[in-house]
Structures are given as C-alpha cells and as structure tokens.
Amino acid sequence: MWNLWQSGFVRSLILDSALLPAVVAMLIVVAAYYKTRKYPGWRSTFWAAAMLAGFLVGYALTYRDFSFPPRTVLSWLPWLALVGGTIAAIADHCRHQWWRYGARGLVAGASAFILLWPILRQETMLAAFVAWLTVAVLWSVLWFALTPDHRDQKPAGITLLVGAVGLALVAPLLGSILLAQFGATLAVVLTVALVFSLLVRGSRWDSPSADVGILILGALMVDLRFYAGASMVVMVWLLVSLAAGAGVARILQHRGHSGRWTVLAPGLIGFPPVAVAGWVALQTYLASGGGY
C-alpha cells in the first residue's frame, strides 16, 4: 500500500477524485451553516450547491471538459446536474404534488435522451425508442421512490452513497477508471453533506441534495452500461441496491419510524447487492486476464 501511494498516478487519482472535492464541499457546507443560521430553511439548498460544487471540482480536475454545447456524453454531466436540479427544486415549491413528479419524470426522460442520443441515432426507430423508454422509466421510478415527498431525505442520501460507492468499485473492473473517479467523487461529496447533516442537530437533508445525487449517479450508470459496456448482471445488482434502499426507506417512513437507524437502514440493506455486483465484476475482470 505504501508503494501505491508513492505512485504519482495513484496520488493524483486520490487528490483529484476525493480529497480536493471533499475539501471544497466541506468549506461550502460549513460556510452555509454559519450564513444560514437565521434562515435554516435555505440550508438544504446550499448543501445541494456544496455537493454540486465539490463534484464539479472533481470533474474539472479529472475530465476538464466544460464545452458548450457539450462535445461528449460525459461533458453533459455538469449541465444536467445543474439544470435538472434547478427544475426539480422549482417544482418542489409548486402547490400540487403532480408538479413534483412531472418535473422529475421530464428531467429523467430528457437526460436519458441526451445521454443516449449517440447510440439511439445508430439504432432502428423501435430499438431506440425501447432503449430510451427503459432508461427513462427506471430513472424516473427510482427518483420518485427515493424522494417521494417533502420529508427529510437522509435515507435517500445514504442509498445514493452506497450506489456511488458501488459504481466506483465496479467501474474500473469493467473498463473505466474515469467513471470510477466520478463515482468516488460523488460518494465523497455525499458523505460530506450527510455527515454534516447528521452531526448538526435538527438539520434536514432535503430534495435538492438528493436530486443532484440522483441525476449524477443516473448519468454515470447510463454511461457505464451503454458506453463502457458493463454487463447487464452488474447493472441489475446496482439497480437492486438502489431499489432496496428506496423501498426500505419508504417502509420505515410509512410506519413512522425515526432516528439514526432509520437513516442507516437503507444503506445497510443496499450494501449486499453492491457487494454482489462487485464480486461479479471482479470475476469478470480476473477471467479476462487482469491488469495491464
């Protein structure tokens, strides 16, 4: 392990993907805490901004593509997170619940279309439509399940954290260290925001933070499956992890449970499917001959 740290290549991976994004997210979170002491209702919006800023720092250090219009699928990531998160946040303030679901469905559908466009245009109309619809529906349903209402969304945050860690673990084994870096960056900024909200008594972790996490994680999973060529088995287990975490969170909230275990339980339930996904990815990697 010491030899690993002596490698400039490994050091840059850790600095760019974890340490620096964590520092940026933490600085904004702490600053937001002090600035919003009189207006605690704004904290969750600032924490979503902290997560987005931390992620964008990692993105800038790793990928460095902020072209507009975006040149590649991955270079759409910052714009989707920013615009999609903003739309969802605005919809949350509308009176009717269906605005909340409608906005999220629209953003998920549009994001799926944008991310899949290079592939859709190479397929037949029917195949393209089925591929887009499948991704859009899965993304929307998970989004609805993870952020069903205006209650505290810490369980969703923990579920997303487990999913991000899972993606960071399987991506390098299945063909993309770059996506693993993005997954690790997302996991780190989620951790910073969640830990702070758990430590600060009475702090809520609202939809804006969860929405940013869902958008980024969803985009990374689409890229992992359709562009890195990750196997369907691994993707299914990652989706099962998210679905299991969302399901457990809904059940516990419906039954009126509260407390730290209510927050942590979705993560604990979501961890075994991630472990299975990691094991399958490892077997695939070892069968292919290992590193190069």
Binding site: S7, G8, F9, S12, R64, D65, R71, T72, V73, L74, P118, I119, Q122, G175, S176, I177, L178, L179, D223, F226, Y227, A228, G229, Y285, S288, G289, G290, Y292
Partner: protein
C-alpha cells in the same frame, strides 16, 4: 572415400549456387520500384494489404504497439499535379487491437476512444507536397474522438505498377505508400492515465491501393 567427399562437395556447391540465385531473385522482388511510368489515377485502398498501427509509451519504460484491424478509403494520385492529390481514410475505432482483449475493451470505452459515441477515425487530405523523387508531405485533417486537428504525414512512395498475377479484387494496377506522423492524444480529448500512458503517439499507415480509374 575421396570420390564420396568430392561428390558431397560438388552437390553442396551446386545447392549453394542454386540457393544464392533464388535468394537474389527474392531480393529483386523485395526491392520495390516503379514498374510503370504512369501511376496516375484513382485508387481504392485494399484493406487486406493495408494497415494502420501505432506506438505509445507505457509506464515510462517501454513502448506498446497497437493496430486497427479495419481500414478503408481511397486516394488519387497525379504526378503532374500533386497538389490536387486526395486521400480519404476511414478506420473503425472499435477495430483497435493491442493484443490484449481486456485492454482493447477499455480502449473502446469512455476513457479513451469512446467508440459508441465516436465510431470512426477519419483522415481527409487537403494537399500533397512532394519533397523528393519518391516522397512528400501529406497535409490534412485527422478526426479522432470527435475532435478534428490538422496533421502532416511524411509519405514514402513504395512502388507502383501492374500486378496481373494477383486475382481480383487484389490484382490490377497497384501502388503502395507508407505514411507516418506524430500526435498528442490530449489534442484529441484523450488524456486519461497521463501518469501511466504517454501523450505522444506515433501513427503509421501502410497502404496498398488498386487503381479503379486512370
């Protein structure tokens, strides 16, 4: 005994002469040259006798060689008006082959060529400038990973002439070239693993074309 030794020596001498003669003949065939004074015309690149390959540094200690298994295109050549020569190349990026399936899978992914988003590598020439009797500089635009950059290939004309011994589609009037250039992969948006894989890539293209129109 002595007659046997003489017989062996004689047979050895005859065999040596015969071998030398055949080797000289093979050497003649390997010394490529113009067989006909009029290579002008339009050519279809023969994918079975052409190859695009590259070398790149790895871990700062070695060089890795890779190739693209598929190549297609066309070119036109007119010695009287070389500025009007045209070259079009298309290489499916997914055909990359570095002799290691796992690495090739990763090279096709989002970290490098991202072949599902950018399926083809293309080169379109803008002009050709002869620099000697059998060579020149080929200017053009190279597109890799969706990014287009101007590049200059150093071209060496290997030979040209009728080769009726080969059946269709390989036979006919053929010409062959070798082209090399050096690029920085970061110029094309592929800068992943900079600490482990070199930024400089040496490209080589060996072409054999079949004339389709004179």
């Amino acid at each position: 005994m002595l007659p046997n030794k003489v017989s062996i020596a004689l047979r050895t001498a005859i065999l040596s002469i015969a071998l030398s003669t055949s080797l000289v003949s093979l050497a003649d065939a390997a010394a490529y040259h113009r067989l006909d004074a009029s290579p002008a015309g339009s050519y279809r690149i023969d994918p079975n006798h052409s190859l695009a390959w590259f070398t790149i540094g790895h871990a700062g200690v070695a060089v890795v060689v890779g190739r693209f298994d598929k190549l297609s295109g066309s070119y036109s050549f007119n010695p009287a008006n070389p500025a009007g020569d045209k070259v079009n190349l298309r290489i499916p990026a997914a055909s990359i082959n570095t002799n290691f399936a796992l690495r090739d899978h990763d090279l096709r992914g989002p970290d490098f060529f991202n072949v599902r988003e950018f399926p083809n590598i293309t080169f379109v020439s803008t002009r050709y400038q002869p620099t000697g009797k059998e060579g020149g500089q080929l200017y053009g635009k190279l597109t890799i990973h969706g990014v287009t950059r101007p590049v200059t290939f150093q071209v060496r004309e290997i030979g040209a002439g009728p080769v009726p011994a080969l059946p269709k589609p390989w036979g006919g009037y053929l010409s062959g070239y070798e082209a090399t250039t050096t690029i920085q992969r970061s110029d094309f948006g592929m800068d992943a693993y900079a600490g482990m894989i070199a930024n400089t890539v040496h490209l080589h293209v060996n072409i054999e074309g079949v004339r389709t129109a004179g």
